[in-house]
């Protein structure tokens, strides 16, 4: 007799598999046409023209560059800052539970509200940020209006929301580490920085890689704070590929081209992910050897 438990998951897995295959085929098919909601009923097969167009679209190439810049900067800063903070709080002290609770606040906050909050704080005339700068004698900065600064203002909001996430995950892995190797090294006369560099960090490597992976995936797809704080402006200076795809579809109604962007973004993300994934899961083996 066949095991009845397979009926619990097979249909759903099959359903998801079928939907993904159909969706993928459908998307590829759509990208090979020139479907635009502005010209209903006039679509025709155009082969790989959309992909060629993307290759020579300066706006898309710049957007891709910004996506890479934002993703790398956000991931590197959040992971290093998060690691530093988690090492700071990795000790027993009164109110540790409360600190943990407070660190959770940005994580569960609605991203749209986070965007609004930072837009409010960074308001050029009434914002808190410029007021604080003025108290130490620095001139007002047009945080979201200056094309050279806007992307970094968005980065700041992202760092505020997601560094605590890195901290909480890293804290959990720090606590699960056995303390013996560290203590043994201390008994042998190792300095604190040596313990940290040669014992704690290598043990954390895998966990940090996973956190970095998570943050990178989310940063590529970042949309909410961009939409709320700058909507890609000023002068397209904060337009990432994801945002450009959205604008192509829902401002220009260029469905096929937008899907081409989404397709390329997905492929690039997967390739990058695969590289990082191999890096993350081969590293421990080398470390152990």
């Amino acid at each position: 007799m066949k095991d009845a438990t397979t009926y619990f998951y097979r249909p759903v897995v099959l359903f998801f598999g079928t939907v993904s295959v159909i969706l993928t085929v459908y998307v590829v098919w759509l990208t090979l046409h020139n479907i635009s909601l502005l010209r209903p009923g006039q679509e025709s097969f155009i082969g790989f023209d959309n992909y060629v167009r993307l290759l020579f679209d300066g706006r898309a190439i710049n957007a891709l560059g910004r996506t890479v810049l934002f993703t790398v900067a956000a991931t590197v800063i959040e992971v290093s800052l998060g690691l530093a903070i988690s090492l700071l709080v990795d000790r027993e002290f009164l109110g540790k539970r409360i600190v943990r609770g407070i660190l959770l606040v940005p994580i569960v906050m609605t991203p749209v509200v986070v965007g609004l909050t930072w837009r409010f704080l960074l308001d050029p005339s009434n914002g808190m940020m410029n007021y604080l700068l003025s108290t130490i004698g620095l001139g007002p900065v047009d945080w979201l209006g200056n094309p050279n600064v806007a992307l970094f203002s968005l980065l700041m909001a992202d760092i505020w929301q997601w560094t605590p996430f890195v901290v909480l995950l890293t804290m959990a892995s720090l606590e699960s580490l056995p303390g013996d190797p560290q203590n043994a090294a201390r008994v042998d006369g190792a300095r604190e920085w040596q313990v940290l560099w040669y014992i704690t960090l290598p043990a954390l490597k895998r966990a940090l890689m996973v956190v970095a992976l998570i943050r990178a995936i989310d940063a590529v797809k970042a949309f909410d704070i961009f939409y709320i704080m700058t909507r890609g402006g000023p002068a397209l200076s904060t337009e990432t590929l994801n945002l450009y795809g959205y604008i192509s579809a829902f401002t220009n109604f260029d469905i096929s081209y937008s899907l081409t962007i989404a397709m390329v973004l997905t492929i690039l993300t997967n390739v990058a992910l695969l590289l990082l994934y191999n890096l993350a899961f081969k590293a421990p083996k080398q470390g152990e050897a």
Binding site: Y9, G101, I102, V108, T110, V112, F120, I228, A262
Partner: protein, 269 residues
């Protein structure tokens, strides 16, 4: 000396985390004049006028209702389906389980843009853009893989002997699922449900594309305060507080599980 540095660093950290939140909530309780005073007013007489304005705004109330309906229905479906699938997978051997789990998680790598445009396109042709069910369906579709992988971790904690003993007694699979797994893993199931609600409530992109006038959720509705005439910060901060407050409460309820769940939600493979 080291202790003092530690406490100072901790205080700076907490200040950085909490200040933006405090400032939004404080502004929502200020009068128009206090809110825009420069230098900022630290001590002020709180007023509820912004909240009164927001709560008298029919569109906002409607959006609140939509958010509740959509996030609860979608999460209920996700957890219901997720629990069945997770039960089935936990009973399989290690290789089958890993393989299926990997496939399920891999579904979530793609940026939402790639499946939302075809969905939008189809929904537009079927005139479903102003329909609650299309939004609920898409959210359930997005959250089911997450619910499955989180529920597997809770179901794995249930001792195998419990299942085997019930089987010896001749119980059917569905009975074991209902009578043993659901009650024993109840805490985990509730936590999964809460996390699904949290994700759905906070989600913006899908809602922006797929909701119409009657189905708008809170994150979409709140952007209507960003008008061309400028931003009405008073009512906006009040609305923002009302949107995030329930999630802060829910987040605290499932504190330990949020990070575990979120890392699962994102790792995707």
């Amino acid at each position: 000396m080291r202790r003092i540095i530690f406490w100072i660093a901790l205080a700076v950290l907490l200040l950085c985390v909490l200040f933006p939140l405090y400032w939004v909530v404080a502004t929502s309780l200020k009068t128009q004049r206090d809110a825009f005073a420069m230098p900022p007013v630290w001590l002020f007489a709180p007023t509820w006028e912004n909240y009164v304005k927001v709560l008298n705004n029919g569109v906002f109330i409607r959006a609140f209702f939509n958010s509740v309906v959509i996030s609860f229905s979608a999460s209920l479906i996700s957890v219901g389906v997720g629990a069945l699938v997770a039960y089935g997978l936990v009973a399989q051997d290690e290789a089958t389980k890993r393989q299926n789990e990997k496939f399920i998680l891999s579904l979530r790598i793609a940026p939402p843009l790639i499946f939302i445009i075809p969905t939008y396109f189809l929904a537009a042709q079927m005139k479903l853009l102003n329909n609650h069910w299309i939004v609920i369906g898409v959210y359930a579709f997005v959250n089911i893989p997450f619910a499955i992988s989180l529920l597997i971790t809770f179901f794995e904690d249930i001792p195998r002997e419990l299942r085997d003993a019930a089987k010896v007694d001749g119980a059917r699979e569905f009975t074991i699922f209902r009578e043993i797994f659901l009650p024993v893993a109840f805490g985990g199931i509730v936590a999964t449900f809460i996390l699904c609600v949290l994700f759905t409530w906070n989600e913006f992109f899908i809602a922006l594309v797929l909701t119409g006038r009657d189905t708008q959720t809170l994150p979409v509705s709140i952007t209507s305060f960003l008008t061309f005439q400028g931003v009405q910060w008073g009512p906006l901060t009040a609305a923002a507080t009302l949107v995030m407050l329930p999630m802060l409460v829910l987040g605290m309820l499932v504190q330990g599980k949020v990070v575990r769940g979120m890392s699962l939600g994102s790792i995707k493979g």
